[in-house]
C-alpha cells in the first residue's frame, strides 16, 4: 500500500498501513494508513468514540490484552512489522512506552515505581538503579519535588505529580516512542501546562504520539495532527496546516466547534 502523501520533515519512525480493528463484531477502526515522524509530536484528535484511543493502543499492542480484538493491516516500528509472527509484544512494549489517561502509579514508593521497569528487565545493581531513577525523574521534571522523599508512597503525590511520575516510569525503560492517552485530561490548568512543557522537551529525544480531546492542546504541543471520525482517519497533516486550512469539511466542522 502506498505511503500517504504528507510532507514529513523527519524520518518515519512508525508506519501504519491499512489498519482495521474490530472488537468482536463491532468495528472500531477502518483502513487507517499514516506515518509517525521521528522525534516529533503527533496528535490524534476527534470526538469521543472515534477510535483514536484504539488506534493509539495498536502502537504497543495493548489491544492484545482485550479479548475478542481482531486486527488486520500492518504497523511497523523502524520498518519491522510489530504484528509479525516472531515479534514478542513484551519486547515491543519496552521500545514503545505508554502513559495513560488516569495516572496509575503502583501502590509502592516513588523510587520503586520508577525502578519497576529497569528491575523487571534485569537491572539489579543499586547504584545503576539509582542513576536511572534520578535521570528519569529529572527528564520528567519531577526530581526537584521528590528527591528528598523517594521512599514515600507514590500515592501521596498530587495528581499532576503522579502523572509526571508515570511519565518518568515510562522513560526509565528507555523507549523510542512514547504514547500518551489524554495525559492531562484529569489535571488542572497548571499541571496541564507542566505536562505540555514536558512534552516539548521530550520530543528532542523521543517520538511522541498523543491522544487529546483538547484542540488547543493539540495545536500547542503537536507538529502533526490526525483527525479521526467514526473509526476513520479523515485528515492527517502538519498541525499548522490542519488547523488553519483543513482540506476536509468534517475536519473544519470539528475544529471550528460546529460539533463534537
Amino acid at each position: 500500500m502506498a505511503a500517504p502523501a504528507v510532507q514529513l520533515d523527519s524520518a518515519v519512525k512508525m508506519a501504519v498501513r491499512g489498519l482495521t480493528v474490530r472488537y468482536g463484531d463491532t468495528p472500531a477502526l477502518h483502513d487507517v494508513t499514516m506515518d509517525v515522524p521521528e522525534r516529533r509530536v503527533t496528535a490524534l484528535i476527534g470526538p469521543s468514540g472515534c477510535g483514536k484511543s484504539t488506534f493509539l493502543r495498536c502502537f504497543n499492542r495493548m489491544n492484545d490484552t482485550i479479548r475478542g480484538t481482531r486486527i488486520t493491516g500492518e504497523v511497523t516500528l523502524d520498518d519491522e512489522n510489530i504484528y509479525g509472527p516472531d515479534v514478542d509484544p513484551v519486547e515491543l512494549r519496552r521500545r514503545v512506552g505508554m502513559v495513560f489517561q488516569r495516572s496509575n502509579p503502583f501502590p509502592k514508593s516513588i523510587f520503586d515505581n520508577v525502578a519497576f521497569g529497569p528491575r523487571i528487565h534485569g537491572l539489579k545493581d543499586p547504584v545503576a538503579l539509582r542513576e536511572v531513577v534520578e535521570r528519569s525523574l529529572q527528564q520528567a521534571a519531577l526530581w526537584d519535588e521528590v528527591e528528598d522523599r523517594l521512599d514515600r508512597s507514590a500515592l501521596d503525590l498530587s495528581g499532576g505529580q503522579q502523572q509526571r511520575l508515570c511519565i518518568a516510569r515510562a522513560l526509565a525503560v528507555e523507549p523510542d516512542v512514547i504514547l500518551m492517552d489524554e495525559p492531562a485530561s484529569a489535571l488542572d490548568p497548571i499541571a496541564t501546562a507542566k505536562i505540555e512543557e514536558l512534552i516539548q522537551e521530550l520530543k528532542e529525544t523521543y517520538t511522541i504520539v498523543i491522544v487529546t480531546h483538547n484542540m488547543q492542546q493539540a495545536a500547542r504541543v503537536s507538529d502533526f495532527t490526525g483527525y479521526f471520525y467514526l473509526g476513520r482517519l479523515i485528515e492527517f497533516g502538519a498541525t499548522d496546516r490542519v488547523f488553519t486550512n483543513p482540506t476536509k469539511q468534517e475536519t473544519e466542522d470539528y475544529i471550528t466547534g460546529r460539533f463534537g
Binding site: T65, R94, F100, I120
Partner: protein
C-alpha cells in the same frame, strides 16, 4: 395532598423503626452472647485454664491447655492445606478465569462452600482415618483445610479483582510479562484483602465441631503427635456441655468464651488490615 404527605410520613416512620429494630436486634445478640458467656464462664477463667490439663471428674480446677494447643495445631494443618490451594485457585480465577472452565470452578467452589461440614468430616474419616487406623491431628486439620479452600479461593479472587485494570495495564505497558505483572503488581496490591480473607476463613473453621468429631476425635491428655488424636476447643466444649457435671459445665462456658474472643479478635484484626488497605486505594 396533605393526607398523602401524612401517609408517606407514617410509612417512613414505621420503616425507619423496623430497620433500626432489626439492626439493634443483630447487635444485641452478639452483646448478649458475650455477656452471657462472661457471666457463666468468667469465674472458671484463670491462669490454670490456659496452662493445665483437664482434671478427672470430681477434682476441682484444671484447664484446657491441651485443647488450646490442639486447636492451634489443627488450624496450622488446615492453613497448610487450605491457603495454598485456595490462594492459587483464586489467582487463577481472577487473572485467567474466563469461559466455561472458570465458571465450573467458581460453581464447584460455591457448592463446596455449602456442603455441610459434617459431610466433609465423614469423607475425611473414610479417606484418612479408616486407612490409617486411628484418629489424628492430621485428619482433623485436613478436614478443616478442605472447608477453608472454597472460602479462601473466592475471597482471593474477589480482592484481586478489586485491583484496578489500570495498574495491570501500567505494568504491561512497561514491558512486564503477564506473570511478572501478577506477582509484582496485582498480588501486592490485593494482599491486604487476601490476608484479611484468609484470617476470616481461619476464624470460621476454628469453631467447627462436627468435622472434628470423627477426625481429630478428642483427647483428655496432650496429643502424642500429629498422627494421634488431639483435643480441640470446640469438641471440648461439646463434650463438657453434654456431661452431667456442674464443674464441667462451667469449664465449657469458659472455653466458649475463649473461643468467641479468639474469633472476634481475628475479625477485628481482619477489619483493621482491610481499612488500612482501603486508605491506600482511596488515595489512588
Amino acid at each position: 395532598m396533605s393526607s398523602n404527605y401524612r401517609r408517606r410520613h407514617l410509612v417512613e416512620r414505621i420503616m425507619f423503626g423496623a430497620t433500626g429494630l432489626a439492626t439493634g436486634f443483630t447487635v444485641g445478640i452478639l452483646i448478649f452472647l458475650l455477656g452471657f458467656l462472661v457471666y457463666q464462664g468468667g469465674s472458671s477463667l484463670s491462669l490454670d485454664f490456659f496452662t493445665h490439663l483437664p482434671t478427672p471428674v470430681g477434682e476441682a480446677g484444671g484447664g484446657m491447655a491441651n485443647a488450646l494447643v490442639g486447636s492451634a495445631k489443627l488450624l496450622f494443618v488446615a492453613a497448610l492445606v487450605g491457603i495454598p490451594v485456595g490462594f492459587l485457585g483464586g489467582v487463577y480465577l481472577a487473572e485467567f478465569g474466563q469461559g466455561t472452565l472458570a465458571f465450573s470452578i467458581r460453581y464447584a467452589a460455591d457448592v463446596l462452600n455449602g456442603v455441610p461440614s459434617i459431610v466433609i468430616g465423614v469423607t475425611v474419616y473414610g479417606l484418612v482415618v479408616v486407612p490409617l487406623g486411628h484418629f489424628s491431628t492430621l485428619a482433623g486439620g485436613l478436614a478443616l483445610g478442605l472447608i477453608m479452600i472454597p472460602v479462601t479461593l473466592r475471597t482471593t479472587e474477589e480482592f484481586l479483582r478489586l485491583v484496578p485494570t489500570s495498574l495491570r495495564e501500567g505494568s504491561l505497558a512497561l514491558g512486564a510479562p503477564r506473570w511478572v505483572t501478577i506477582v509484582r503488581v496485582v498480588i501486592p496490591a490485593g494482599l491486604r484483602g487476601v490476608t484479611a480473607g484468609v484470617l476470616l476463613s481461619l476464624a470460621r473453621v476454628a469453631g467447627e465441631t462436627a468435622p472434628l468429631l470423627f477426625t481429630a476425635f478428642g483427647n483428655r491428655f496432650w496429643s502424642e503427635g500429629w498422627l494421634q488424636p488431639t483435643a480441640s476447643l470446640p469438641v471440648m466444649i461439646f463434650t463438657y456441655a453434654v456431661s452431667p457435671y456442674d464443674d464441667w459445665h462451667r469449664q465449657a462456658w469458659a472455653a466458649a468464651l475463649v473461643l468467641l474472643v479468639l474469633v472476634l479478635g481475628s475479625n477485628v484484626l481482619a477489619r483493621l488490615i482491610l481499612n488500612r488497605g482501603q486508605g491506600l486505594r482511596r488515595a489512588s
